[in-house]
């Protein structure tokens, strides 16, 4: 990995699934992976806010990551999980389709954001890795900067980014 890029010490990532794609985020801010639980709906909340739930005695907002990224929503399955992630402002829960594994992603296999993604706010994207997931070889895993994604101000930027990532053939 060239020194100019953000130095990627080898560390662990949580690999998860969203709308048929694999994503990964740094495991450090992830506090817990929960099964789908009772979420209290909050009327008139922003659309991507699924509601709030009781997490370790605290009130935690839960976001539907699909909605956040502008992806179509889907039915919950028994694999649906909530990732409790610690942000500066507090813990936030993210609903994902499934959580696959927690694994090390060595920097060598991480490709920097493709030129196709120029023009899109690629702050969200740390890189793309080609690796084995769940026993399947050569899967593409999009490594996200979770904090940036969750605190993204502009929905449009996120949507653009998502489109670029999912639509492009990297």
């Amino acid at each position: 990995m060239p020194e100019t890029a953000k130095s990627k010490r080898t560390h662990e990532y949580v690999v998860f699934e969203l709308a048929g794609e694999y994503y990964a985020v740094d495991v450090s801010p992830v506090e817990e992976i929960l099964r789908m639980a009772e979420i209290t709906e909050v009327p008139h909340a922003p659309s991507f806010v699924e509601g709030i739930m009781n997490f370790r005695g605290n009130v935690m907002p839960v976001i539907d990551l699909r909605k956040r990224l502008g992806l179509p929503t889907t039915e919950r399955t028994k694999n649906t999980r909530i990732m409790a992630v610690s942000l500066e402002t507090g813990t936030v829960g993210m609903i994902v389709d499934a959580v696959n594994e927690v694994t090390e992603i060595p920097p060598e296999i991480v490709e920097p954001p493709s030129p196709i993604l120029k023009g899109v706010d690629s702050d969200f994207l740390v890189g793309i890795a080609k690796m084995a997931v769940d026993g399947q070889e050569d899967r593409l895993v999009v490594i996200l900067d979770l904090v940036k994604v969750l605190s993204a101000k502009s929905k449009e930027a996120l949507a653009e980014f998502t489109e670029a990532v999912t639509g492009s053939d990297i």
Binding site: E38, T40, E41, V42, P43, H44, A45, P46, V49, I52, M53, N54, G57, N58, V59, P61, I63, T89, G90, V92
Partner: protein
Amino acid sequence: MDYSEGITPEDIQVFLEEADEQIQLLEDDLVRLERAEKSDELLQEIFRAAHTLKGSSATLGHQKMAELTHAMENAFDQLRRGAIEVSTELMDVLLEALDVLSNMMEDLRAGVDTEVDVKGIVASINETIRQCAAVSEMPAREHATAIADGSRTANSEARAGAQSDHPAEDKSVPNGRLDQATRVVIEIDKECLMPSVRAFQVVDLLASVGEIVHSVPSLDDIEAGNAEYSLEVYLDTDKSASELKELINQISDLSSVQIIPAADNRSSTSPGPDRSVESREDENRGQTDSAGAEHAAGGSQSGDADQGRTHQSRRGFGSLSTTVRVDVSKLDTLMNLVAELVIDRAQLAQIVKDLENRYDRSDLSEALDKTSLNVGRVTSELQDEIMKIRMLPIDNVFRRFPRMVRDLSQELGREVDFIIEGQDTELDRSVIEEIGDPLIHLLRNAVGHGIEPPEERVQVGKPRRGLVRLRAYHEENSIVIEVEDDGRGIDVDLVKAKAIERGIVSAEAASRLSDREAINLIFVPGLSTAKKVDSIAGRGVGMDIVRTNVERLNGSITVETVKGKGTKFRVKLPLTLAIIRAQLVCVGSNIYAIPIGSVQINLREPESSLKTVRGRETYLYGDRVLPIIRLNDVFGVPRSTSEDGRLFIVVVRSGDEMVGLVVDRLMGQQEIVIKNLGGVVGDIPGLSGVTILGDGRLALILDVPSLIRSVSAHEYAV
């Protein structure tokens, strides 16, 4: 900023805290002084405060502050000696000096070099003193202050001859006087960062109840900041030892205080000056007490141990300060922990119930039940105690008002008597922090808009001086704060007219409003009845902010007024913000919590009892027509049909207004811990927070005032 050598950030912190207290005291007292509450005690107190400030800023090495406080102290000294009289000019310049001082404090707190120029204000002070020099006789006052401040002569000489060492004490005091003096031996806590200040305070205090015959270290040394951790004072006084001890114990950081009455002194010092010197040397062997060498008859601490009469353990007399300084964040942490306990306690009770349901009672479940009840009881007590710790007297907020009202009245040419009652009333610190601004606004309105100019008042047959009264008292689980004035009152018709003009209310709707309802229009944003826009009381953007702030604290505000007679604002606040009792209700699949303070009554009425008036459902409650809000509609939940055609209606109120909320089910009352919805969810109209119930479920907390207002807005629709 160059401070004295060896000053640490902690020193500065301690200095700031104590100086704050002194400055506040000075401000309060100056205002009282101006109101002709002059008394010897007051003047003494004022002088002492300035004296202490001067001492500690000198110790700190803050050149400018020392200079300014010195000038102020001088002014106060002149006052208490009767050399000058109280006058508005004098008060003005002294209050201004306090402001300058506060500015320097701010700079100090922020860690920046102060650019404040003190030369100007010092010159003003001195000039004003010169002008105010009264021709009244000096002797009478001299006498009074001589008694009050025994060491004045010693002190003034010390002040005058700051450089040279003071002859009077060390050498020329006859032994005889020492025999008749009470000996006060003080040890200052080694942890104390500013022993000089403590020594100074002790000496100052003693000087006010007697005459200091001798002191080690000398008064000069103490004032110059050269005190060490031991202090011995020979005091000519008629106070008893216990009285002295009680007085001295008010000073913090003293690890031991010994009072040896005069009679005992004689027996110890006269026959045995050598003995005491000997024993001292014995004790001191190995000690690096260099100061010991200079000590005259007094001797150092260690010599006492074997004097016979005195007490065994000096340790026993530690500084008996009965209060502690605690960081507020620690209190907040405690509060959070207690809040979690409250939740768990409810959960525990629930589990016990479930267990019993599932497995029948047994001795085991009974034991669990009992323990759970106990835990519950202890948690409640813990909660109460912590709440109490967090309670502060509302005087913390009130005390800055006299000065503000005084300044404002002067500025606007009003003559105002400002009365404060109930300043000891306590409330939670979180509320205290927030209530200041709304009150300031109400007071400014009272002085600026309420109270008429003196001539006008006289013309309508009122006393020339207007009355503004600020009152606080407890009422059930709330604190009530009233701001009352005997001024013009609010012209309801004018308010209505303005509201119509501003498009807030249609003329038709306005005509239907009762006076009581119309008065509440003043809280609507955008209404201003000020004939001219003055910066003092604002442009009418104030009242709505006041109400918003009050309601944000789960409180309410009402107003009573009689045109020509006066106005009274009544602010009602819960005693604490964090934990409240709430009525739980069900709407759809969600549970909502309504703060009990807002609940008037729960009703169960047939649906047919609702009458639709002008497109809005209403319910007749006594003689009031209540607007009905269907929470199902508000929160986008389909209305449920009840089997028996009856509806659950929770009548809620905010201030004077009441509304009936239709819910699906009632679910009992519970104590809940208020939590925020958080930034991700954002502000939801109608909701003021969320809470975790005993069974772990979440309940959304209703924002009653905003719900009620949404109806009124609808009502007023132009």
